[in-house]
């Protein structure tokens, strides 16, 4: 599968997700600079990486969301291609309007950096098809602005449509209804604060994240 990782100034997790994609797919992803206006031909998965693009200035993800490449990412999402935003990438996707809601400063004001337990809420999406609904998985988190907010009507809609992909098993950062990851209405865009790309092999302390990439790869063609 051809994959692409968007590279923004200041991001520090683009290499992490590139390594994970290469390990799982066997092919290095295209690293696409944010000033580009098009994705390489044949890209089956677009990853918007974690890591403090633009130093989180103004708001986390705000400036990256307005960069030229994001129009191409939005177009890919519109065509139904999978787009995965992790951590800052989740913030970017909400700021870009590809996912509802917003991410605010953690309720406890602490930067949280540790492994957390998550419940897989939806095991039918392109991203979660190799998990079981209700399964408990462990991914690392490392964020200051992971407090997911949306109005009550939006939250009800997300829950009703099965668009909550992952939930924190215990309250972590103040997120509404402990939401850790949400899907768009087409189910092909996922934003999540925890880092599946940091749980790919035993040396990471577990490989719960690997199935996300394996599931995507099998779906869109290896």
């Amino acid at each position: 599968m051809k994959t692409a990782v968007i590279v923004f100034p200041g991001s520090n997790c683009d290499r992490d997700i590139a390594v994970a994609l290469e390990q799982v797919t066997g092919t290095a992803p295209a690293m696409v600079w944010h000033r580009e206006t098009a994705l390489p031909d044949g890209v089956g998965l677009v990853a918007v990486p974690g890591g403090f693009s633009y130093g989180d200035y103004l708001r986390a993800g705000a400036m990256a969301a307005r960069s030229p490449i994001m129009a191409a990412v939005a177009a890919a999402a519109g065509e139904g291609r999978p787009v995965l935003g992790v951590c800052n990438g989740f913030q970017v996707l909400t700021e870009a309007g590809l996912l509802p809601g917003a991410l605010m400063r953690n309720a406890g004001l602490n930067f949280v950096c540790r492994d957390v337990a998550l419940t897989v809420e939806n095991a039918d999406s392109a991203f979660t098809r190799l998990y079981r609904a209700g399964e408990r998985v462990h991914f690392p988190v490392a964020h200051h602005d992971g407090n997911y907010v949306a109005d009550g009507e939006t939250l009800d809609r997300l829950e009703g449509e099965g668009r909550v992909a992952f939930r924190y098993a215990e309250p972590l950062n103040g997120s509404a209804r402990d939401i850790a990851g949400v899907l768009n209405d087409g189910g092909n865009v996922l934003g999540m604060m925890p880092h599946p790309e940091r749980k790919i092999e035993a040396a990471h302390g577990g490989d719960d994240g690997r199935r996300m990439f394996e599931g995507l790869m099998a779906l869109v063609g290896a």
């Binding site: 917003a102 605010m104 400063r105 953690n106 407090n147 907010v149 949306a150």
Partner: protein
């Protein structure tokens, strides 16, 4: 021409920074602080004649996230 753009969280949106300040003031012995909200002040130098519609677009497209924030523009 200078613009001052005040970006504030919408009422009802939890403001953890404001809460921390409120508690810190109470800890310093200041009684009667019943709330604190933290916002941003963005000062822009813009060309004379920059219209309200352009400023509004700047705010909506980048400076404020209207999902959670309100903004107010002051011309100085």
């Amino acid at each position: 021409m200078k613009l001052r753009i005040h970006v504030t969280l919408k009422p009802g949106v939890l403001d953890p920074q404001g809460k921390a300040i409120e508690h810190a003031l109470a800890g310093l012995g200041f009684a009667g602080v019943e709330g604190a909200r933290v916002g941003k002040l963005i000062e822009l130098d813009v060309a004379d004649g920059t219209g309200d519609a352009d400023v509004d677009r700047m705010c909506r497209q980048l400076l404020a996230n209207t999902v959670i924030e309100n903004y107010r523009v002051e011309r100085a």
